[in-house]
């Protein structure tokens, strides 16, 4: 560091940094610069990105959201994110106050309704008077009793304002900046608690129109931790673990055993939390704890269900097309073959051909019905997502 200076910043946001570095730049590939830029633009819909790579034209990726995300306000801890020791230590910050006052002030998602519920539950052994006692008079056993009761009581999940989520709407717009997409599916889970920490998982899956890879190549996976692209050590990451444990075949994607699904898809998974537990100091990989993997799995499965409606409708359409082609191709061949072996007359051949078309036509009609059902389901989903107008346009 040659020079250090502190300045007062008079604007809401915006930073200009300029530096020169000398080295080999890896542009392509999973760990390449382009992938980093692509990922960054995906999880920052408000970002307009201008870049120029050596020997290439200037590139601009326009912002798709005018809303600059606000930095979340500090909130009180959610009681389910604490361990007993932390819980007791937390009380010491408040001095002599009533238990109810301490719980209301010191935590989020605790209030009179929750205290009522706890005092009514005989298993907890906490009456109303307990909440009116002074917190500094509680013994360790009583703290333990209170802590256990809170853990066993169902509370609202942490507030969405406590984490900086992207949101389904913004993600839907942003994912279309990755290239021309056939269809996509986005899911923003509500914040949940994993390993005593609030976490929000968001998933975006898109199928690219341009098939640059083989259909049996693994999907392109973009991983994010607090909006920062993770580009190394994919296999050990909680996100990769979660994806490989989902049965993607049931959603219409190919998937070798215990591997990433296959096809021209981009899977983007973002994990946001005030406390992400990384596997290493370089913050390349999110630690794959059971609770976090399960939460990511749920988000992926929700996204998979949405995606399967597109794939299902597409498969049905392909099925119908194939059936029509089969009728056209094989009908005459079969009848001609049978006629040659049996020396059938022209009249017999004609009737058989007509009969065969009727039989096969019935099959095609069945598929046509299935296709309209699949399309109807898709329409409902699109309407829900508010995409109907965009598609019509």
């Amino acid at each position: 560091m040659k020079k250090r200076e502190t300045i007062d910043w008079d604007r809401a946001h915006g930073t200009h940094v300029e530096f020169v570095f000398d080295g080999r730049v890896q542009v392509n590939g999973e760990a390449g610069l382009l992938n980093y830029l692509l990922g960054t633009s995906l999880v920052n819909p408000h970002l307009t990105l201008h870049y120029k790579l050596p020997d290439q034209e200037n590139v601009t990726i326009e912002r798709v959201s005018q809303e600059v995300p606000a930095i979340p306000d500090a909130t009180e801890p959610h009681p389910h994110t604490m361990k007993l020791g932390e819980f007791i230590a937390h009380s010491h910050l408040y001095g002599r106050v009533k238990v109810s006052a301490w719980l209301k002030k010191g935590f989020s998602r605790l209030g009179d309704a929750v205290f009522d519920e706890m005092s009514k539950n005989k298993d907890f052994g906490l009456n109303k008077a307990f909440f009116e006692r002074n917190v500094d008079q509680l013994s360790n056993a009583e703290f333990e009793k209170l802590f256990s009761a809170i853990q066993k009581t169902e509370l609202k999940p942490p507030s969405t304002s406590s984490v900086l989520s992207i949101g389904e709407d913004s993600l839907s717009k942003s994912i279309q900046r990755l290239g021309k997409v056939d269809f996509f599916s986005v899911v923003s889970r509500k914040p949940a608690i994993c390993d005593f920490k609030p976490v929000q998982v968001e998933v975006a899956i898109a199928r690219l129109e341009q098939r640059t890879q083989d259909s049996d190549s693994p999907v392109q996976l973009l991983r994010f931790a607090n909006r920062v692209p993770l580009q190394f050590d994919k296999s050990a990451c909680a996100i990769a673990s979660a994806i490989t444990t989902v049965n993607w075949r049931s959603y219409g994607l190919g998937q070798p055993k215990e591997s990433l699904p296959q096809g021209p898809y981009i899977f983007a998974v973002s994990v946001v939390s005030p406390f992400i537990k990384f596997k290493n100091a370089s913050k390349e990989t999110i630690d794959a704890s059971d609770e976090l993997v399960e939460e990511i799995r749920r988000a992926l499965m929700q996204a998979g269900q949405k995606l399967s409606r597109y794939i299902n409708a597409e498969n049905k359409a392909a099925d119908l097309e194939e059936k029509r082609r089969y009728i056209e191709q094989f009908g005459p061949i079969l009848v001609e073959g049978l006629a040659r072996i049996t020396n059938a007359k022209e009249e017999t051949k004609k009737r058989a051909r007509e009969g065969l078309l009727k039989i096969l036509g019935r099959d095609a009609n069945e598929t046509e019905k299935e296709l309209s059902v699949a399309n109807e389901k898709l329409k409902v989903q699109r309407a829900k997502e508010g995409d109907a107008e965009m598609d019509e346009a």
Binding site: K323, G337, I341, T342, R351, K358, I359
Partner: protein, 389 residues
């Protein structure tokens, strides 16, 4: 639609065109009425196999595989009718072909007729499946539609056996195996055209799993010292070996023994196929199995008795691991090994599963390395003592 069968030994060739035409007429009649035709073929799998020791081989149960004409099956049916036409032409002209040749013939036909392009076979397994489907439909042997496999295995040596072959033109050829010198007789996979006789009483027939070991035994004078027939099966017995063994059993009524490795693969895939046929060929086991063949060894007790070299089965080896798993399945599902009469064979499978060891037929050569005829002595001694299953 279901054709009626079944007479002994499959169908007479002259019946095939008639049955085929009936089948096609029924299909056409159904189509004319816009009725969906359904073809029924015998289900050739273990769950449709019945074993009765009095019959001696695996026979088909009542299960049928129904193929209904719909958009999904129209390709399969069109291919079957297309291939049937080729086969009927072969029957008419007397031409014979292997499956591979039929694959190329069909490709040639398609090349010359652009309308048939959608029927084109991507590879041989596709055309093989079509041929098998036709055979299952009209319940005939592949040979009945003039489709012959390569005559693999079955090289036969004997100083007493005389074979009379009826040729397609009605003339006969006589082959005296004692006059062939060191050359073996190679049976055809349609051995029903052969008549067998013996210049001298034949005491036994020995089928050896390894072709090489069979040759060694002959080279060391086995067939000179014993009035016998010696056959090399060359692994899993081909149709030629199976039909040939059945012929020897029926026409010569001579005791027959099988000598092979002591492992699950030999017992299930080689010996069981030779003795009782296979689940995949349920409709043809009648003519392609020799139920009187006994398992001479290697038996589990031989290992101790002759101090043979055996070694553990490597479960990590894919093939050996699969064989063990199949042995377990066979004990649970294979009616052949479940039959009380075959308890001795099932016990060998259980021994193999329990001990996870195997012993090769060539280990007999370790008993007295200086005596090249030692394996022969052990084999003959075992036959004399009735030391077989």
């Amino acid at each position: 639609m279901q054709t009626q069968i079944n007479r002994k030994g499959g169908k007479v060739k002259s019946e095939i065109p008639i049955i085929s035409k009936e089948l096609c007429l029924r299909l056409l009649a159904d189509l004319e009425r816009a009725k969906r035709p359904v073809l029924h073929a015998t289900k050739c799998s273990l769950d449709n196999a019945i074993y009765n020791h009095k019959v001696g081989y695996l026979t088909p149960g009542s299960k049928k595989v129904a193929t209904e004409l719909n958009v999904s099956s129209v390709k399969k049916m069109s291919r079957a009718i297309f291939m049937l036409e080729i086969l009927l032409r072969n029957i008419e002209t007397g031409a014979v072909n292997t499956k591979r040749e039929l694959y190329y013939i069909s490709k040639g036909e398609i090349k010359g007729t652009p309308m048939l392009k959608p029927l084109d076979f991507a590879d041989q397994p596709e055309s093989d499946d079509t041929i098998d489907f036709i055979c299952e439909l009209i319940e005939c042997y592949r040979e009945d539609v003039n489709c012959y496999a390569n005559d693999r295995g079955g090289q036969t040596y004997s100083q007493q056996l005389i074979v009379t072959e009826t040729l397609p033109d009605g003339t006969t050829a006589t082959i005296d195996l004692s006059k062939l010198g060191t050359s073996p007789f190679q049976p055809k996979n349609r051995p029903q055209n052969l008549r067998l006789s013996a210049s001298k009483k034949i005491d036994f027939a020995l089928i050896v799993e390894s072709e090489g070991t069979a040759n060694t035994l002959v080279a060391n004078g086995f067939t000179k010292r014993h009035n016998c027939i010696l056959i090399g099966s060359q692994g899993v017995p081909s149709n030629a070996v199976r039909g040939w063994s059945k012929l020897i059993q029926d026409q010569l009524k001579t005791p027959m023994y099988f000598f092979g490795d002591l492992d699950a693969y030999t017992l299930q895939n080689i010996y069981r196929t030779l003795k009782a046929g296979s689940a995949a060929s349920l409709i043809r086991n009648q003519d392609y199995s020799a139920p009187d063949v006994r398992f001479l060894g290697v038996l589990p007790e031989d290992i101790k008795k002759y101090d043979l070299f055996d070694y553990p089965v490597r479960e990590s080896d894919a093939q050996e691991g699969r064989a063990l798993k199949k042995a377990d399945d066979a004990l649970k599902n294979d009616p052949f090994f479940q039959d009380k009469k075959n308890k001795g064979l099932a016990d060998i499978l259980k021994w193999l599963l329990k001990n996870k060891r195997r012993c090769e037929q060539q280990s007999y050569f370790s008993v007295n390395p200086k005596d090249p005829t030692m394996p022969e002595k052990i084999i003959v001694e075992k036959i004399k003592r009735g030391d077989y299953v």
